[in-house]
Symmetry: C2
Subunit: 186 residues, 2 copies
């Protein structure tokens, strides 16, 4: 795994999160790296390859985070807080998250990228649903909805508030996150 390859994935991800999948080009990346746009095709023959690799990298990062939290013995509150902090960071950096950004572009993605995005979203929702379920069993959380529905509502709130924050710039993202967690307190 070359350093250039990783750099391309990182630049590509940032471009997707700031401008969207269909609004960035290989030229955007190559200019940044000081090479011709065709050089990127050596590492990723088509945009589909790049998009798919970006999503796969994110899945790996997320799974490592989950493993890390489990091995550290984080309880459900600590896990949820850690997850929400990712979104607070994205908000600070004026970026969206892949679910929201690629979700909007879903119908224009290639099959492999779609497949990985589906997989990523399922992994996130399954983890969140499971965390909410066990957290409620332990009376750490309190809520009345189906855990699956609650998971979708929480993820949706985090995802779309990033998008709305981009439109209305004086939104207090942390305060919204506070409202989300307040709604889970026993």
């Amino acid at each position: 795994m070359s350093i250039t390859r990783e750099k391309i994935i990182e630049l590509g991800e940032n471009l997707i999160l700031s401008r969207g999948y269909n609004a960035f080009s290989y030229q955007d990346i190559s200019t940044e790296l000081g090479v011709k746009n065709a050089a990127i095709h050596y590492y990723f023959p088509s945009k589909e390859n790049l998009g798919t690799s970006i999503v796969r990298t994110n899945i790996q990062r997320f799974e490592e985070m989950i493993d890390n939290m489990h091995s550290r013995g984080f309880d459900e509150w600590q896990q949820l807080d850690t997850f929400i902090k990712i979104y607070i960071k994205s908000h600070r950096e004026k970026k969206l998250c892949l679910v929201g950004s690629l979700g909007s572009d879903f119908n224009t993605l290639n099959e492999n990228t779609k497949k990985e995005l589906i997989r990523m979203t399922e992994i996130i929702l399954n983890w969140l649903t499971s965390t909410l379920t066990t957290g409620r069993e332990k009376s750490i959380f309190k809520f009345n909805e189906e855990p699956q529905n609650k998971a979708i509502l929480i993820l949706s709130s985090l995802v779309a508030t990033l998008q709305i924050s981009r439109i209305i710039d004086n939104i207090d993202y942390k305060s919204i996150c506070q409202s989300i967690t307040d709604g889970l307190k026993p």
Copy 2:
């Protein structure tokens, strides 16, 4: 206001909601209308003009709906239900809403389109915040968050669940909407 002009706005809106602003072209619209792509430029000289007109049309539609509900004497529950039904219809038609779709593309929009999108989002959020506030004063709704935060949370849930539904296709959108309204019951 010619019939062709209205047809272009309608087709353009559907393309933004299904494929995104940067993924549709004048060709997509002209093919549908059986003319050359340049014919669309007669009605909308640039894509910016078209995008801005699409958002303006939506603002007008939303304001007419609000006026209509007020003159019919809808209470806060009836108003919220009517609003949510727009999203259930969008979900059925496999479309997003403009806030979510153009929110993702925000950084790539022209100044005028941005301005109208900001105006539209403010109008929606102001109406929702005001409806939640008076509804709570009348004890029709019950919630603990700041009305402004609650409005953003509800809109975000509706917006991003459309996007997530596109990725994960077996999501019960109506059930999610039920969870949203259940959370407001006294």
